[in-house]
Each structure stands twice: as C-alpha cells, then as structure tokens.
C-alpha cells in the first residue's frame, strides 16, 4: 500500500444513516473475482438508473468530482462483511470516510486497504456536513482542518502506523505480530 499522505479535498456528503455494504456494492457484483475495478459499481443502485447516472444522487454532482473524502451518517458499512465495499470506495477514489459510527467488520476492512475511517462526534459531523470548503486530513497529527479550525480525532496507534507507513497489514503482522500487542498496550489511550 502507498503511505497515507495528507489529504485536502472537498467532502462528498452522503446524508443517510445505516448505509449497508449492499448499498455500497450491490450483491450482483460480488461474483466478480478480481480485486480491482469495483469503483464503477460503487453505490450502483443509487447512482444509476438503467445505466444512466441519476442527477439526484450526490456522487453524480459535478461539485464533488475528484472528492477523496466521504461524509456519512451513523452505522456506516453495516450488513454483509463483503470487503468488495471497501475495494469499491478505494477504487472510486475515496481515501477517507468520516462518520459518527462504523460497523465493525467494515471498519477493520478499511485499514487492510489503505482507507482511513474517522469517527467523530455528532457535532463535528454536522460541522463537516455544513462546510462548503475543502477539508484537510492530517493523520500524523490526527487532525481535521475545517474552515481554519483544527478538530482532533482518535485512532488506535497500530492502525495509524500501518496507514502512515503504507504497510500491508498481512505482511506487517506476519513480521511483527509479537510486537504489535506490546506497542498497542504501551500506547493505550
């Protein structure tokens, strides 16, 4: 994986709660066995109608073209454990997902694929949803810069390390598994 860099981008506001992985990548695409190219199927049923982009869906709004940050509501990524959901978000170009809460398996899957899921308070999320300007995500300093105001976020040290160094999780854990538990313990917040 590529080391996770600072990201500055407009954020795409997906104003829905409980977005499950079947909305992220509908089941008909699960059969595809390659790991790449899932971006075209991202939010497929919301994004397209009979193959044509739906004007009323936020991803089709030109204002959010090239956005690298997705804003989502509570319990994002619930439902099926399909990792295709993360593969699709990544392939589409999202590198950061910000929500008040994530489903557990989805949250884990993000780190395996170089995506940073950030959990924030209701109040912060509201602020992010209402801004029109770009948001800067600084993982090193665990901060979001929104309209020149920094907002700190929490992330487990082990997860931060693998993203910042671009370590492949499998390779990393195969090499260092004994040390991770110690590292995690000594950095408990």
């Amino acid at each position: 994986m590529q080391p996770f860099q600072k990201i500055k981008s407009i954020a795409t506001p997906l104003d829905k709660v409980n977005v499950d992985t079947d909305q992220i990548v509908p089941k008909q695409f699960l059969k595809l066995i390659q790991r790449t190219g899932f971006g075209q199927y991202l939010f497929y049923d919301w994004r397209f109608e009979k193959g044509t982009p739906r004007k009323d869906f936020v991803l089709n709004d030109p204002a959010y073209k090239n956005s690298k940050i997705l804003l989502a509501r509570d319990n994002f990524g619930c439902g099926s454990s399909r990792e295709h959901a993360v593969w699709a978000l990544d392939d589409y170009g999202f590198k950061v997902i910000i929500s008040t809460s994530f489903a557990d398996i989805f949250y884990n899957n993000c780190f395996k694929n170089g995506i940073l899921p950030i959990q924030v308070s209701d109040e912060t999320l509201q602020k992010l949803f209402s801004t029109k300007s770009e948001i800067e995500v600084d993982l090193e300093n665990q901060s979001l810069m929104v309209d020149n105001v920094p907002i700190l976020f929490h992330i487990e040290p082990y997860r931060k390390k693998i993203l910042l160094e671009g370590l492949d999780d499998i390779a990393m854990t195969l090499l260092h598994e004994d040390k991770i538990a110690i590292y995690e313990k000594s950095h408990k917040i």
């Binding site: 409980n18 499950d20 079947d22 909305q23 509908p26 089941k27 008909q28 699960l30 059969k31 595809l32 066995i33 390659q34 790991r35 049923d45 919301w46 509570d74 319990n75 619930c78 439902g79 099926s80 454990s81 399909r82 990792e83 295709h84 993360v86 809460s101 489903a103 557990d104 398996i105 989805f106 884990n108 899957n109 395996k112 694929n113 082990y158 492949d168 999780d169 499998i170 390779a171 854990t173 195969l174 598994e177 004994d178 991770i180 538990a181 995690e184 313990k185 408990k188």
Partner: protein, 423 residues
C-alpha cells in the same frame, strides 16, 4: 472473567484479559464460502504478486468450506466461483468442503451447528458477517473481511480487541406463540442497529435455559444486526445433548466466573413477549405484529440461517397443516440434513399440500441474489435477518422480518398476522 474473556484469554495463552486489551489468539476453526472464498483467493493473488509464496494453509484440518450464496449456480460467474473453491480445497488439502449436490451441504452458519464444526470454548472465524451465529455453541465466533480471513488461513492467528459484554437476562419461558426471533427483534428494536457495536451480546437466565439450542442460534445469529462483534450462550446440558446427537462428546467447555463482569445487564420477562416484526428498511424498525395487520403482502419467505432450521420448519408446519397459502410462499430448509428430517417427519407433505414451493438450501433470495428475488414495490414477509433497501431484490421492494410462526400465519391470510389471530 466472563465466558468471552476466558475463551480469548485461553486462546492467547494469557491468564487474564480485560475489555480493550489487544490479544493475538490462536484460531480453532475458519470458514470460507462462495463469496468470501474467491475474495480470499484474490488477496492471495495480490500477495503472490508481491513475491510471497503461498503453497499451503496453516492447518487444512481446521479450515472448512461451504457453498451457499450462489448455489445452485445462479449464472456462469457463480458456477466458475464454485470451480475456484473446488480447486482451492484440492490444492490445499482441505477435506471439509460441503459441496452442493453431494450429500450434506447448506448455509455455512447452519452447517456450523448441524455438523458440529465448531465446539464449545473454541475461537471460530468466518468470512461472513453472520458467523456470530455459532456463538450459541459456547464458542467465540466472529465474522471477518477477506484480508483477515486470508491472514488466518496463512497464520492460524488473528488479533482481537477484547470486547465489552452486554448481558441479556431473559426471565422465564417464552409463550407458545412467541419465538426466539421475536425476542431478538425486540432487543434490536430497543438497543438499535449499532447498540452492541464491537461488543459481545451474551444471553442467559431461565428463559435461555428453557430454550432449545436452535432457538438460541436465532438469537446469536441476529446479534450481527445490532452491530455486535459476537453473540454467545454458555454451554449447558441442552447443548451437550445437541452435540452428543451429532456424535461429539469431547470438548473443553468454558464458563464465566461467578464474579464475571458485564458492561450492562438488560432484563426481559419472557412471558410478556409477543410477536414482533421489523418493518422496512432496518431490523431496528420494530413493531408489534398485531399493529401491522393491515399490511398486505405479495410473498412469504421461510429460509436462511436465521429462520429455516428444523424447529423453524416445525413451527411453520404447525400453522400450515390443513391450510393453504394465499400468497406466493417459499420454504428453503437451511441444510440438506434439515431437508431430510422435514421429509422423514412429514413436514414436506404439509408444505406441499398448502401450496408452498419447497426449494434447495441456499442463501439465494435472502440476500436478493437469485432463486426468487422481489420485484419493484413487492412486499415480502421473511424469516431472514436483514431488510435493508433492496436486500431481497429490487431496491424499491420491501421486506418485513418476522418469526416462522408469523411468516406462516401471514402466508395463510396474505396480510401480516399474529399466529393467535389465525382462524
């Protein structure tokens, strides 16, 4: 320590663990199916491209494989995926591959208990979110993504953060017209779909001791719908009998200490429970079944790891005996062993006399993949576990989640029906 903490402590070689600790645990069993298997193989491929040599899995005896989501092969690609799985099990010497059309096969979570693939006290992971189901056998059972499953296949280990445990104490037996499904829907309605996020939901109390193992499996199955990492029930005599009936008597049970700690204890009075239905489009969107009696239906679906165990089919048969269905109704036993028992005990005749289609075990329509999906605007009552938009077919179809009793009663009337109100 409670049972979950003790299992994780034992599996990580520690004497004590607490919620929040990160532990590396030795995995006892790992499962892949026809969706996660090809996903895992894609991860293997990625690693191979980076130069990693992958020519064996850590222990082929501890790996088992199910074909369930897209069998009978929904199309050419799913047929190809089953070939991939077959090549995978051959290449790596994995013997426990339950193949469609060759004796016992079925939905992975159902096989986990029907075939006693997982035993009390074990750590079990699978490439499917409803892996939690198997926790009713007194094991730690959790779903993983494809990369994590690939890691376990290579390494036999995985790291977990020890979860907090929410304890659900059920006092007293459920009434005859109420099933475990009603109870778990009630609980999810109360705590919400992220009410147990990264926590274990443990079920206990006299209501659970009175409950069959199959009913307990319905509870743990749907802990996923409350966001739980795992669901669990402590082993008891009923579980030992259940496993003995499957030829398994040797295992190392784990029980919580008398001073076990829980983050929170919820109490429910079993006798006060009533039939509950989850309305579209979330399992937390619950209502009392009787309050929905005006909802007209197009279809009833009795299937899945949640609602097509033998006991579920027996409940359906109790309702359908001597009656006919008013709406399209499908019954898909969750494994061939259950299908056979349904045949041997005369349930299939009752179903067919009622006008129902009986089909082969598959996840098929539960996840909207194939084998009877819903059209636009169609409304289904289902014994399954999820009713997100488009879950069972068209994104504008609707699914109401219910117990097998409620689903069967509704099949007879064509409207959502409390089994007590059936004439």
């Amino acid at each position: 320590m409670n049972i979950t903490e003790k299992i994780l402590a034992r599996a990580s070689g520690k004497t004590q663990v607490s919620p929040g600790d990160v532990v590396f645990v030795n995995v006892d069993k790992v499962m892949v199916h026809d969706v996660s298997g090809p996903g895992v193989l894609a991860v293997f491929e990625k690693l191979r491209k980076k130069g990693m040599v992958i020519d064996k899995v850590w222990d082929p005896e501890r790996v088992w494989v199910a074909e369930d989501h897209f069998v009978p092969a929904a199309d050419k690609i799913s047929a190809q995926n089953v070939v991939l799985l077959t090549n995978f099990t051959k290449q790596f010497g994995i013997k426990r591959h339950f193949k469609y059309g060759m004796g016992q096969y079925g939905i992975c979570h159902t096989l986990s208990h029907e075939e006693a693939m997982v035993l009390p006290g074990e750590v079990y992971v699978g490439g499917d979110s409803h892996t939690n189901t198997t926790g009713a056998l007194g094991a730690f059972a959790a779903g993983l993504g494809h990369t994590d499953v690939a890691y376990v296949l290579l390494n036999g280990k995985i790291w977990f953060k020890v979860p907090e445990t929410l304890f659900f104490k059920i006092n007293g037996k459920l009434p005859d017209h109420v099933m475990a499904k009603d109870l778990i829907l009630k609980i999810i309605g109360d705590i919400g779909t992220d009410g147990a996020a990264y926590k274990t939901m443990q079920f206990g109390g006299t209501g659970i001791s009175e409950m069959s193992v199959e009913s307990r499996l319905t509870l743990t199955n749907m802990t996923t719908e409350a966001g739980a990492k795992s669901g669990i029930v402590e082993p008891d005599l009923k579980l030992r009998e259940y496993l003995a009936a499957r030829g398994v008597t040797k295992y190392d049970e784990v029980h919580g200490d008398t001073d076990a700690q829980y983050e929170k204890i919820y109490e429910y009075e079993g006798s006060e429970m009533e039939p509950i239905v989850a309305k579209p489009f979330s399992p937390e969107n619950t209502a009392v079944a009787r309050d929905l009696s005006s909802v007209e239906l197009d279809k009833a679906y009795i299937g899945s790891c949640t609602g097509a165990k033998l006991e579920d089919l027996q409940a359906v048969a109790k309702i359908l005996k001597g009656r006919t269905v008013k709406i399209r109704t499908e019954i898909l036993p969750a494994a061939m062993s259950i299908f056979r028992k349904a045949m041997d005990t005369g349930l299939l005749k009752i179903f067919m006399d009622a006008g129902v289609v009986v089909g082969p075990p598959t996840c098929g329509a539960c996840c909207g993949a194939h084998m009877g999906v819903l059209a636009k605007d169609e409304i289904c009552i289902s014994t399954t576990n999820r009713n997100f938009p488009g879950r069972m077919g068209h994104v504008e179809s609707q699914t109401y989640l219910a117990s097998p009793l409620v689903a069967a009663a509704s099949a007879v009337t064509g409207k959502i029906t409390d089994p007590r109100d059936l004439k």
